[in-house]
């Protein structure tokens, strides 16, 4: 991370690219000189190129996964049987998604026969809704258990600091349980107040601080990006 290290020629070239593009996009929204080149239009066009360039990397992730798991299977590593399942799921889903999902390549059935699409649609729907959506939701729902155990462990009045965390957390939890409001309506009001004032103040402090850190960090990266340092 030290900046005294010499850049190689290749790195220097890349740095010039990073700097010029970064500088351009940092200021383009501030300058609008009437009558000259429309910088806004240039920046939009450039953005379209960059987006197109990034979309070209669409298969990187799949290549990585395939490499790792085919390797697992070849060397019969401990979890190789699961790797076989992963690879099958990956390519089956890719094929059916290209035929029948909202991202289908040929939704109008111009090249792919309509019968193939009709055959694939229920299979894709099964893979997507019955399997993928369910795993996704259930992994999400694990958080309910984790948040409970985290609360149990972390909300302890060890010091003044942890007591504040505990108090704010518990008051908010109480304020949003419908039953607590029935016991004493004040809980809801306290929760709303905590969220509206102390919470907003703390969030702003964190956000303003972070914004400045990000700003300085990004400007420095314009001058030197540490490739593999």
């Amino acid at each position: 991370m030290s900046s005294d290290k010499k850049m190689t020629r290749e790195e220097l070239g890349l740095q010039i690219i990073i700097f010029s593009l970064g500088f351009f996009y940092a200021i383009v929204y501030y300058i609008a000189v009437p009558g000259t080149v429309n910088l806004q239009a240039v920046s939009d066009q450039l953005l379209a190129y960059i987006t197109a360039m990034l979309t070209a990397a669409f298969a990187i992730g799949v290549i990585n996964l395939t490499r790792v798991h085919v390797n697992n299977i070849k060397r019969k590593r401990a979890t190789w049987k699961y790797s076989v399942i992963l690879i099958i799921c990956l390519y089956a889903m890719a094929i059916f998604s290209m035929i029948a999902s909202p991202y289908a390549l040929d939704p109008q059935a111009a090249v792919i026969p309509a019968s193939v699409i009709a055959f694939s649609t229920p299979i894709w729907e099964f893979l997507y809704y019955k399997i993928l959506v369910n795993i996704n939701s259930t992994i999400f729902s694990l958080l309910a258990f984790f948040i409970a155990s985290a609360a149990y462990r972390a909300f302890k009045a060890r010091s003044l600091e942890s007591t504040i965390l505990l108090a704010a957390g518990l008051l908010v939890v109480l304020g949003q349980a419908p039953i607590a409001d029935l016991v004493w309506p004040g809980f809801g009001a306290i929760r709303d107040w905590i969220l509206a004032f102390p919470n907003t103040a703390g969030q702003r402090g964190i956000l303003i601080g972070a914004a400045l850190g990000i700003l300085v960090f990004s400007v420095r990266r314009l001058f030197r990006y540490p490739w593999g340092d």
Partner: protein, 254 residues
Amino acid sequence: MNPIDLIGVWVGVFITLMVLSFLYKENPFFRLAEYSFIGLAAGYALAASLRLFINQALNPIFVDGNLTFIVPVILGSLFYAQFTKKYSSLYRLPLSLALGYSLGVTIWSIFATFFVKQVTATMIPLFTGNALTTFDNVILVAGTILSLSYFILHREQKGVWGGFTKIGKYFILATLGAVFGSTVLGRMAIIIQRVQFLVGDPAFPWRALGMGTATEGAYAPIGVVAFLAVFGYYMYRERKKGSSAETASKATKP
């Protein structure tokens, strides 16, 4: 009743319980769900990003006839250079372009949206004539300033200054406690709906999640019982294996 939806419900129940079994311990059922999920997600993402590539890069060339888009496509293909041995660092070229762009936009937007907006939003009257709102506003302004002061690094947090930063830290902790507390609500909503699914409750949005209708859903508990039987058998075998391994190791000991 639709038999495919019925099978779908049972498959969904099995999968749900396979994932939940992780809470007990890491086991082959969870691993199966984990690996198939990663596979399915990657396959779906491949189709989605291929579609995006066609829309953003190929359509401009082949449909609109804008040949300049060939340049970004060639640059983008350099990302794949990393998989070769000889030219692996070529991928840095397109990446530099993307990095330059994103750093520039960050520099521009972070200042406007985070710094200026948050600072101006905190410029509120410190005295309003109403005791309650005056108190609220003072808390907001003082809290923002104090929690910001906690992040100032060029001064050791001692003495009066240390007192300020300490109160700032308290504000930050109160914020984190509040966010923690309010997140509990959402997480509970999600597990409640999972449970509604497992017991086949008609209140579960069967239609919205593509799980057929409540008619098929009502049979979900059968899936739960079936899974518990399978999982129980697995645990029984594990225990037996464990105990036999134990006796074996005892036997070898002199």
